[in-house]
Symmetry: C2
Subunit: 427 residues, 2 copies
């Protein structure tokens, strides 16, 4: 059995039977039964869209039939609808090391980032630089542009980017830096930052630390409180399995709540929303990050998935995640050495999230051919094939089968068929 802290490629004697034994001994194995996965599919894209929990359909249907259909407008009180963005936020809190009352649901991650980055920048009015990474998921960069373009005036905000082979974070951390926005786990490579260590460096420079947890929440243990971070946003439709487009969340450390001034001041963030006052006054606490009416059916699906997370031990998730990713890399090393494939994900377990990226010049076509064989990963331009390992429903045997299928695709050269070459609009 591979040790979770190992950086070795793993025993060369492993075979499918070994994988099956690992599955039989896996304490998380029973969770797979909590998901509806299509037959014949190895699903390695839960880092993009999580699988469907079995309980979700009935839960959403009950909310529609009873809370909406029968309760109608009364459900705003009787079913706790108004409180949902915060009551459900409290259920996400344990997954990120947040306290009760520190997490609230938003709409999309981009919208939530806009709220949070604005609030962060306003806490440092005497500084005008926002630092981010060139390799961030692009919407983070676009949202920083949006904050910049709104905050015109005397001292325009400047965006500085950390780049591979370019300036490192420390070189950019001058006393003009207001906010640093970083992605905990990189969306392409799976590279993971040390949350506490980076936060400390950013604080030393007097800046506010905003974490994007989209690719780490539900994938790795997170302790924002212990790290002393300032703000965070995250996504619930990836590892948390909340369903397509399920609401984002925002976190703000309690110490910032009263001073925080998010960008969009909608009525659901008002101190007295049902007094219908003409002037805005922020709700006390995290509720001030709210905007308008939450999309309650999407939120209902998230609630069903959080029922599962309430039972999950994140240390077991991390342990299995590392076993799966190491196993995958070890098998790639062993089986695919004949082809020009490169593992771009860090081998060091402390620097790795729960996904592995392989570089291949024709990664798009190879991935399409692989998907046709029932192994679903995805592709990120220009040349990365991504494989996500979601420990609640991915098995060691899945990992074995995925690498074997990839081997077959490469060996047969089936991916060279023209039908795999055409890149569709959405990948």
């Amino acid at each position: 059995m591979l040790h979770p802290d190992s950086t070795a490629p793993g025993p060369t004697t492993i075979d499918r039977a070994t994988c099956e034994s690992l599955d039989a001994a896996d304490p998380l194995a029973p969770f797979r039964e909590r998901f509806d996965l299509p037959d014949g599919i190895v699903y390695l894209d839960g880092n993009s869209l999580g699988a469907l929990p079995r309980a979700t359909r009935a839960h959403v249907d009950r909310v529609i039939a009873e809370e909406w259909g029968i309760g109608l407008i009364r459900s705003w009180n009787d079913a706790g609808w108004f409180a949902k963005p915060q009551s459900v936020g409290d259920r996400i809190a344990p997954l990120i090391g947040a306290a009760e009352g520190e997490v609230v649901l938003g709409d999309s991650t981009s919208g939530s980032l806009f709220q949070v980055v604005t609030a962060a920048a306003r806490l440092r009015p005497d500084r005008n630089v926002i630092v981010a990474e060139h390799g961030s998921f692009p919407t983070d960069l676009y949202v920083i542009e949006a904050v910049q373009s709104m905050a015109g005036g005397a001292t325009p905000l400047e965006r500085r980017l950390v780049r591979d082979g370019g300036p490192a974070l420390d070189e950019l951390l001058g006393d003009d830096v207001a906010v640093v926005v970083l992605t905990h786990v990189d969306y392409r490579t799976g590279r993971m930052h040390d949350l506490a260590e980076v936060t400390a460096r950013v604080h030393e420079a007097g800046a506010i630390m905003v974490w994007d947890l989209c690719h780490s929440v539900g994938a790795v243990p997170i302790d924002l409180g212990a790290a002393g971070a300032d703000f965070a946003v995250g996504c619930t439709y990836k590892y948390l399995n909340g369903g397509p487009g399920s609401p984002s969340f925002m976190w703000a450390a309690s110490r910032h709540h009263e001073a925080a001034r998010p960008a969009v001041t909608g009525w659901h963030g008002h101190a007295r929303p049902f007094d219908f006052e003409i002037g805005y006054e922020p709700m006390s606490g995290i509720g001030r990050f709210r905007v308008g009416t939450p999309q309650l059916l999407s939120l209902a699906a998230l609630e069903a998935s959080l029922d599962i997370w309430a039972e999950v031990d994140m240390s077991l998730v991390r342990e299995k995640s590392l076993r799966l990713t190491e196993l995958f890399m070890a098998l790639v090393d062993r089986r695919l050495g004949a082809w020009p494939i490169e593992v771009v994900t860090p081998r060091r377990s402390t620097r790795r999230g729960s996904q592995v990226a392989l570089r291949h010049e024709d990664g798009y076509a190879v991935m399409q051919a692989l998907i046709e064989r029932g192994v679903i990963g995805d592709f990120r331009a220009p040349d990365l094939m991504r494989f996500g390992f979601t420990p609640l429903y991915v098995t060691h045997a899945d990992v074995w089968d995925a690498v074997e299928s990839l081997h077959d695709v490469l060996e047969s050269e089936v991916w060279r068929e023209p039908r795999f070459a055409h890149r569709s609009a959405v990948t």
Copy 2:
């Protein structure tokens, strides 16, 4: 039968049998069977949260089971998920006099207003005043504050309010006015503006016209194109029956698309979202108003309700709406004259949406007692009882029953019981 253009209180001889005859002759009557309404309830709050269409549960369940559960990540292409905010927007277009490609779904109305008001203000960089109404739904005013506070700098934006008994719109329309934001139908009183006439006055002053259609879409015929308006936002969970928190929509006249610069530049509004470029470039057309991943399950419920709207003749809706509201006011006049109740909704049909507000000093308690008897309306501080008339599922007999119940509540003085006095947080 009451004439739709009549301003008279209606025949004093009307009784429940007359109402039943009107229902029997109602061309929209068959639509009531398309909704699941709880037994024994007269639902007059569809102006706040529309009723549940019978087809919604199965449709949402299919999207969850098939598109999410089986299609998984592939549904972004195969089920057209990425295009949904625009393809579903196109289905709303006919209800508001918009052309194909002019409507896109957003998240909440507040968030969408922030996008649209920012884009509107940026079209008039040489002007710095935003005009709105004191009686607007408050979030419109809060969002204008948000736009103001973001756009700090040399010429801070100023907000000017039209008030009853205060300055009228024309008095505020100076050559410094960039944008006018008005609510087509007032959320409390049901007062309706003349969309075309007001738009023309605003344009004469050189300002941009933004309409809030929350309380008019699906309630009255709307022709933004004919009015030559600039931007609009609206809500789909009221008269459109999209479900609790179903997504808002945004409209921009085609002539503004290429110049429009909304506030939040998320990746779903990028020209090439899946090229993952580090710089933002807006998608051409209305798509640039998009932010992040749409909440697809809430959106699915909306799609089911739009299947109904595709069959609806809005002129019939308007005709019935006016009959229902006139009938209600006529019966209130006749039956409730002994109590201090005032109809605050315009009697003139051209100035009225599809709701009626009654002022009563103890409106909160009276409404609670009425709800206990199965007639559901709502209350807006300080003293307004609101009754919404949604022609697809409210009958003339419902109107009769509602007024009779209100009569009983007032005559019995049951509303004076202490249990009705306590005002809950959400009303």
